[in-house]
């Protein structure tokens, strides 16, 4: 499967994954091809890169916005302040300092690191999200979740029973499990491994001073 690596500073990067066999770059940049790997750097204008469906993408900007349309493979995005929008990926690693992160669907694990920006994930097969003050909103999750923040609110809605470890210092936590879930609640350190008999998942939701809600309890 091909892979694309892009390094931009302030210029917007737009990836379009579509039914095609080649990679095209529209914009002023240096392009290097090494086997299946294409590296685009020294970017001097807005970029639009068209790639085959399922292509792995690695993108870094300082302030440039990153948009990924269509279904890519493993996606890694790092930016300081550029907004990140991912429509669909097989897996995701996104890191930013202050940008908003908006993700449509990730079939595998979705890892996001942010300080102050909000993180929204429409659907994912599991999540590992950490912010400092940014709100975390994870919907239609079907795998294990780790969500940590200091003062932001955490909302997690699972479609299937899965382990949840949610932790804040002062933010509010809401965990919505499926109606048929039989959670094992723990207060101390997260217990890894199988839940005890009679339970189908382990849930730890801890906030030092914020309100915690887990349904069904």
């Amino acid at each position: 499967m091909p892979a694309v690596r892009i390094s931009s500073v302030s210029d917007r990067v737009r990836i379009i994954a579509e039914n095609r066999n080649d990679i095209t770059v529209d914009g002023d940049a240096r392009i290097q091809v090494d086997g299946d790997r294409t590296t685009v750097d020294h970017v001097k204008s807005r970029l639009t890169v068209r790639v085959p469906l399922g292509t792995d993408v690695v993108i870094g900007t300082t302030s440039g916005r990153v948009e990924v349309a269509g279904a890519v493979g493993a996606a890694s995005v790092v930016t300081e302040s550029g907004r990140i929008e991912i429509e669909e990926a097989a897996s995701l690693d996104a890191r930013t300092t202050s940008a908003r992160v908006q993700v449509g669907r990730v079939s595998g694990r979705c890892r996001v690191r942010n300080k102050s920006g909000r993180v929204e994930v429409g659907a994912c097969g599991g999540a590992d999200v950490a912010t400092k003050s940014g709100r975390i909103d994870l919907q239609h999750v079907t795998g294990p979740v780790e969500a940590h923040c200091v003062s932001g609110r955490i909302e997690i809605r699972l479609d299937t029973s899965a382990n949840v470890d949610a932790e804040t210092v002062s933010g509010r936590i809401s965990v919505h499990l499926p109606d048929a879930a039989r959670p094992h609640r723990v207060e101390g350190p997260m217990v890894f491994g199988d839940p005890p008999d009679g339970c189908d998942c382990t849930v730890r939701a801890a906030s030092v001073s914020g309100r915690v809600e887990v349904t069904p309890s």
């Binding site: 993108i59 300082t62 300081e80 890191r95 890892r111 690191r113 940590h148 350190p189 030092v208």
Partner: protein, 176 residues
């Protein structure tokens, strides 16, 4: 008088930071927070005892700067330290996660301290890591021996560092 060349060295700089330490201190008080730092010092000491090529350069509040004489020693030491702290967290004896960043290159010795762009970049790499994460630059992986073991890594992307013309490409070490 030493020349600049005499005082330079090549190796790997590791920065660590306790995630949420300020908020934790606010909630439990100074005395309990200091116990966490003491425990961290114990864990680091035990890891460095088994890594002859590493030394604690300095403490930076709740963070640490550690220097290793080679990329291999740095990667091994960072992995050992992260695993030791994660084990302590799971066992309930250590309340906070740590983030780590490792970069390889040249540094200048200044007394017991080290300075230079390698150090600056390592600090920046650490700042991008999340709780329980170890990020390393491509320079670390490139300087490691081919048989650097079974440490899997996945690409993170390029980051800009002030004063450095080319972006630094990062990888995440998978410790699971």
């Amino acid at each position: 008088m030493n020349t600049l060349a005499d005082s330079s060295c090549v190796g790997a700089a590791l920065f660590t930071d306790l995630v949420g330490f300020t908020a934790y201190t606010d909630s439990v008080g100074d005395a309990a927070a200091v116990l966490v730092l003491d425990h961290q010092t114990e864990i680091v000491g035990s890891v460095l005892d088994g890594n002859a090529d590493g030394r604690l350069v300095k403490e930076l509040g709740d963070g640490l700067m550690i220097w290793f004489g080679s990329a291999d020693a740095g990667l091994a030491g960072a992995v050992d330290l992260m695993r030791a702290i994660e084990d302590a967290r799971r066992g309930g004896s250590f309340p906070l996660a740590v983030r780590m960043g490792l970069h390889h290159g040249e540094a200048i010795e200044r007394g017991d301290d080290l300075v230079g762009q390698t150090i600056n970049i390592a600090a920046r790499v650490s700042a991008l890591a999340g709780p329980g994460e170890l990020l390393v630059s491509d320079e670390v992986m490139g300087a490691c021996a081919d048989d650097r073991g079974d440490v899997p890594a996945s690409p993170i992307g390029p980051v800009s560092v002030k004063g450095v013309s080319e972006p630094v490409w990062l990888q995440r070490i998978d410790l699971s």
